[in-house]
Amino acid sequence: MDVTNLKFLFYGYSAAWIIITLFVLMLVSRGRKIDRELARLKSLVEDKERS
């Protein structure tokens, strides 16, 4: 009985950690996309201003 409950405790904690990790990964990938877009737009604006 105790072992089963420990198993479920493990499942519960790992589920929580997995959700948090996936969210962090999602944030990181979105952050990279935003940074790339920002850099691209900044260079475009500089080119336009120079010309």
Binding site: M1, D2, T4, N5, L6, F8, L9, Y11, G12, Y13, A15, A16, I19, I20, F23, V24, L27, R30, G31, I34, D35, E37, L38, L41, K42, L44, V45, K48, E49
Partner: protein, 225 residues
């Protein structure tokens, strides 16, 4: 500076959670009625608290946006609601796993679980509609409206847990009945751990939102040039 703050907060939060886990395995006896699985409480309940706190902050900033039309309030709203929705998802999933262990079922349609799921769906709707509107101030107005409408469920969930006569299998709240006193320390540590994590995630998200606002203004500038 901001990045250092994020790393420190994450590290602290992770340390606290690991300490909690260590404490459970070395010091704590199995909980009276539920065996060791009852200690999922230290993630399950603080996740709900953090979610509710974040949603309340989002409600305030949504109203502030509608009043003052400052896009920074909209950024805070979306950051709060995204992180808050993640915490409510953690709450639902850990609760479901606990339920499978205790009652043998993954889900039941009693008042608490239904209202909690409804809360999750309402804010998920907020997150789904936001990308579909391209104009920033329009998007902010719509999101503020949806965020305010969606908040109606949060007090409903709190009431649902406390109503005396509702037929439900969910255990009654332990904070008020004092059943939590013996395990107060890991519980409070659990809350702090999630608070650290929430703050770290919020900082990251807010930085992304300010970048996005800069992208919007650069696009407009490019259009004008």
């Amino acid at each position: 500076m901001r990045e250092k703050a994020i790393y420190i907060l994450c590290f602290l939060g992770a340390c606290l959670m690991i300490w909690n886990l260590h404490h459970i395995f070395t010091e704590m006896a199995p909980e009276a009625a539920q065996g060791m699985a009852g200690w999922i409480l230290f993630i399950h309940v603080p996740a709900d608290f953090m979610g509710d706190i974040l949603y309340t902050i989002a409600l305030v900033t949504c109203v502030l946006y509608l009043v003052k039309k400052d896009l920074r309030y909209d950024s805070i709203s979306v950051a709060c609601i995204e992180v808050g929705t993640m915490f409510i998802l953690v709450n639902l999933v850990t609760g479901s796993i606990w339920g499978k262990n205790q009652w043998g079922i993954w889900w039941t349609w009693d008042l608490r679980l239904t209202t909690q799921l409804m809360k999750f769906l309402l804010y998920l709707g907020y997150l789904v509609v936001r990308p579909a509107i391209s104009e920033p101030s329009q998007r902010a107005t719509m999101s503020a409206f949806i965020g305010i409408f969606a908040y109606a469920d949060v007090p409903l969930v709190m009431m649902a847990i406390r109503l005396p006569n509702v037929r439900t299998q969910h255990p009654s709240p332990v904070i008020e009945t004092g059943g939590i006193n013996s395990v107060m320390l890991p519980f409070v540590i659990g809350i702090f751990a999630q608070l650290m994590m929430a703050l770290a995630l919020m900082l990251v998200r807010l930085h992304q939102e300010s970048n996005r606002r800069e992208i919007d203004s650069l696009r407009r500038e490019l259009h004008a040039l």
